[in-house]
């Protein structure tokens, strides 16, 4: 079937079997390799991206459900010259080790901050359930708090 959607702001349409996981369309058809395969069962979060600003584990998300929607991947989150607050915080805290799971964590964090601009440690514990085998959790927690600060600094103050 033909599925049309936006990815990182750009319109795309693919001709593919509708139950194909979104992950494989993003990686192998659209050649955006930043979103990772970890388990194929939505258990590790390495494949996390955004569909209409919601964090989604794309390995278990049939591509047919993105029809007409907006998909954002790590490549669309921000660039070196204009990083997303989460990416800036990740750089400042030097979070990644092997780095493989990190896009998934950053996408999950960006979605968290979108809804909850000032998450507590408990919010982080309850929301960020991805797996990092290098166990960079200690720095990730610091980076999530730092990202919240950066986001606040970047937000223009509204007139009273």
């Amino acid at each position: 079937m033909k599925i049309a959607f936006k990815i990182n702001g750009r319109p795309e349409s693919v001709e593919i079997e509708g139950n194909t996981p979104l992950l494989w369309v993003v990686r192998d058809v659209l050649d955006l390799k930043g979103t990772k395969f970890g388990c194929g069962k939505a258990a590790c979060g390495a494949c996390t991206l955004h569909v209409d600003r919601e964090a989604v584990r794309s390995c278990s998300y049939p591509v047919k459900f993105v029809e007409g929607k907006e998909v954002t991947t790590i490549e669309g989150l921000g660039k070196e010259e204009g990083p997303h607050p989460v990416q800036q915080a990740w750089v400042e805290e030097i979070v990644p080790q092997c780095g493989y799971c990190q896009p998934g964590f950053m996408m999950a964090t960006a979605a968290l901050l979108d809804k909850n601009p000032n998450p507590t440690d408990e919010d982080i514990d309850n929301t960020i359930s991805n797996v990092c085998r290098c166990a960079t959790y200690y720095r990730m927690r610091k980076a999530i708090h730092r990202a919240a600060e950066i986001q606040k600094e970047n937000t223009p103050k509204t007139e009273e």
């Binding site: 194909t20 390799k33 990772k36 388990c39 092997c98 493989y100 166990a135 200690y138 720095r139």
Partner: protein, 721 residues
């Protein structure tokens, strides 16, 4: 594997033009000449491994690019441990360039600069500490000499900064100097700079791969692709000991997208147009497996008992056995650790292209040289005709010290005449891992009248570690007897004790067990340091002082004492329970790096919560303090994961679980919110970092739990009853 016999003179620097480069300096030196077993034994004992090069020619270490940058071809792979950054710091300092001018790439086997053995054992920085700086300094002096010629200046009057040679008011960049030079004058190895003169060594410079990893660059094996590439899946057995009898592929052959089904003697692969089509077709293959015995967890547990395998005494001082003979006054304790999986996030696999008898294979592997040989042997071609293009590893942890997927992808590519990408799925990863073996420990000791230990014995029974690795020739098993990997961390480090002995029992399990980050260190330290805690309590002594009192006065002993004192002081160690929290102490020495850790723990219901960990480590000279901290933080939480959560089991012949979640691991919610790392540098050269800090954490947590609950937890994963 064809081996180049000719020795390359260290004076023979090759220079050649390359694509987009003005000069390629190739330095062949530091050849691996000694029998492999000696190296392995040295590594296991002290962690002081010399760099093991190879005999290919030319060997390309550095390239100077048009824009006056230096490409460093690393013979070691980057799997998160920060090696690229540390090596770049070492090279940049002697090359007189700044960090922005050096770019690190994985050396392809075609470039010659591959490691003869592996990336592992926490030896990448220490083994290249001398050779890499010498090579960089030599190249700097060659450039200075040529620069003098081109500028018409006396060489001794020239200064170098940021890759620019200056003197007498004129200057020239390395790139300009290298342009057109066909014959280089090679100096004797220059004197290296004094450590205090280094600008980058010793500083917490950011990781060189940071941007690539934060902005999603396609750097991993699974991100690799080649033009016109097909996708493949291989059939893996899901039952222990299953041997392949045959397969019915008739239905699979008709499935959508299938290009070819390739039947080999030892595996079946499906090549299709997409990954999903290859997976679906693979699942439609009916395989006839022969299974002689249906294994269960209890079978494995029975095999792994101390006394069931073959014993080797690995450490002996005094009259331990005589003193511990009989039961009077002898304190005995037993501990166990479970089977553990690597569970690295990037599955194993490769992208291979085999055309006209030449293979190109892009993949994540810790064993480039071995994998090249495996592919060449299978294809019946020379090793020189196999170019392994190493990628960043989505986790290594020892799990990629055997990477046969490179060979399988190459065989499949050859069969279809196109590039093929072939990766395992997660179930296959969990069931075909080379696991961390389960262990059983028996400890015995007797206290003297002064409350110190009169004699102590540690017996460990373990599945194979080193002997489970295809890297280690069978002949070595007989020569060494005991498995160096299994007993890593199993010796008694308190050599002030007058009588001590360590015994390693070897057990061959019916599935692959091998290298897992820190090898036996985590389990052995859990057992010994839990027992030391029991003995201190029995003797009525402070557990920190109890250890300090029994460490010998030599360099290793003094370094160990210092990390113990430092950790205790930083954490404010106390035996008291304060606000429902208790501290647990443990220390280990691995590959000459001593580490002490204190875990601050509370118990809520049956849940053990680790709030704060203090870690003192002495890896010697610290090349990059930030990355040493990162390795300690990661090791502490990965160690907690293995010690408190993870366990593989065997059910009706199958290794289980097969997915994250059921394979419980430490997650964000389990990670301590405070980790303090103190780095001591009581050696003038860099030592091991990537594995030693994994040692103490299991025992530190268990020792804290005992103070809180009175329960002595004797089995990993640690669970309260």
């Amino acid at each position: 594997m064809a081996k180049e016999k000719k020795r390359i003179s260290r004076r023979r620097f090759l220079v050649r033009g390359g694509l987009g480069t003005v000069g390629v300096l190739a330095v062949g030196t530091y050849l691996f000449r000694n029998p492999i077993r000696r190296k392995i034994a040295e590594m296991a004992n002290t962690g002081e491994a010399p760099y093991i090069g190879n005999t290919d020619t030319p060997i390309i270490w550095f390239e100077i690019t048009e824009d006056n940058k230096v490409l460093f071809h690393s013979p070691k792979v980057e799997m998160g441990q920060g090696t690229f950054t540390g090596l770049a710091q070492m090279a940049a300092d002697e090359l007189e360039i700044h960090m922005g001018q050096i770019q690190v790439v994985h050396a392809q086997t075609g470039s010659g600069n591959i490691d003869g053995f592996s990336t592992g054992g926490s030896t990448s920085i220490s083994s290249l500490w001398l050779p890499l700086r010498e090579l960089a300094a030599t190249m700097r002096e060659m450039l200075r000499t040529e620069g003098g010629k081109k500028l018409g200046m006396e060489v001794s009057s020239l200064t170098i900064a940021d890759g620019i040679v200056s003197g007498g008011g004129s200057k020239m960049s390395y790139a300009e100097i290298a342009k057109g030079v066909t014959e280089w004058k090679v100096p004797d190895t220059p004197t290296l700079k004094a450590i205090e003169d280094y600008k980058f060594i010793g500083k917490p410079v950011p990781r060189v791969d940071l941007d690539a990893k934060v902005f999603g660059a396609p750097i991993f094996g699974m991100d690799a692709s080649m033009p016109d590439m097909l996708y493949a899946a291989v059939v893996c057995p899901d039952t222990i000991g299953a041997t392949f009898l045959g397969a019915d592929t008739s239905r699979a052959a008709t499935m959508p997208g299938v290009v070819k089904i390739v039947k080999e003697e030892d595996f079946i692969g499906v090549v299709a147009a997409s990954r999903m089509e290859a997976e679906n077709a693979k699942n439609a293959i009916k395989v006839d497996w022969k299974v002689d015995r249906v294994w269960q967890t209890k079978d494995i547990e029975e095999m792994i008992q101390v006394g069931a395998g073959r014993p080797y005494i690995i450490q002996a001082e005094g009259k331990t056995e005589r003193i511990l003979d009989g039961s009077e006054g002898v304190i005995t304790a037993e501990f166990t650790s479970p089977l553990g999986a690597h569970a690295q996030l990037e599955p194993n696999g490769a992208v291979a292209s085999v055309v006209d008898g030449k293979a190109t294979v892009m993949m994540s592997t810790q064993v480039i040289s071995f994998t090249r040989g495996q592919i060449a042997d299978r294809l019946g071609i020379d090793a020189e005709d196999v170019n392994i293009v190493p990628t960043f590893l989505g986790g290594g942890f020892g799990g990629r010290l055997h990477t046969p997927m490179g060979m399988q992808a190459a065989v499949l590519s050859k069969a279809v005449g196109k590039p093929v990408k072939c990766f395992l799925n997660r179930k296959e990863e969990f069931q075909n891992d080379s696991f961390r073996p389960p262990t059983h420990h028996v400890l015995k000791a007797k206290l003297a009248d002064d409350g110190l230990i009169a004699a102590i014995q540690h017996q460990v029974s373990s599945g194979d570690v080193m002997f489970g690795s295809p890297l280690v020739p069978k002949i070595v098993h007989g020569i060494l007897g005991a498995d160096l990997g299994a007993w890593r961390g199993g010796m008694i480090q308190y050599r002030g004790i007058p009588n001590y002995q360590a015994v390693s029992w070897r057990v061959k399990l019916p599935f692959a067990t091998s290298w897992w980050r820190s090898l036996g260190l985590l389990a052995n330290t859990f057992a010994i340091e839990s027992f030391m805690d029991e003995l201190a309590i029995r003797a009525g002594k402070d557990p920190v002082q109890f250890r300090l009192d029994q460490i010998q006065d030599d360099k290793a002993g003094n370094r160990l004492k210092e990390v113990i004192r430092t950790a205790a002081e930083k954490a404010g160690y106390s035996d008291e329970i304060v606000d429902g929290r208790a501290m647990g102490f443990a220390a280990s020495t691995d590959a000459s790096t001593p580490v002490a850790q204190i875990a601050e723990v509370s118990v809520e219901g049956k849940e053990i919560k680790v709030h704060r960990v203090t870690c003192a480590i002495d890896p010697g000279l610290a090349i990059n303090p930030d990355q040493i901290r990162a390795q300690c933080e990661g090791s502490i939480i990965m160690g907690m994961s293995a010690a408190m959560h993870e366990r593989m089991y065997v059910e009706d012949g199958q290794l289980q679980p097969i997915i994250y979640g059921p394979y419980e691991m430490a997650l964000m919610k389990h990670a301590p919110k405070e980790i303090e790392v103190v780095i001591l540098e009581n050696d003038d050269k860099p030592g091991a970092v990537g594995e030693p800090p994994l040692g103490p954490i299991g025992a530190a947590v268990a020792n804290a739990v005992f103070r809180l609950t009175g329960q002595r937890l004797r089995s990993m994963p640690l669970k309260l009853t």
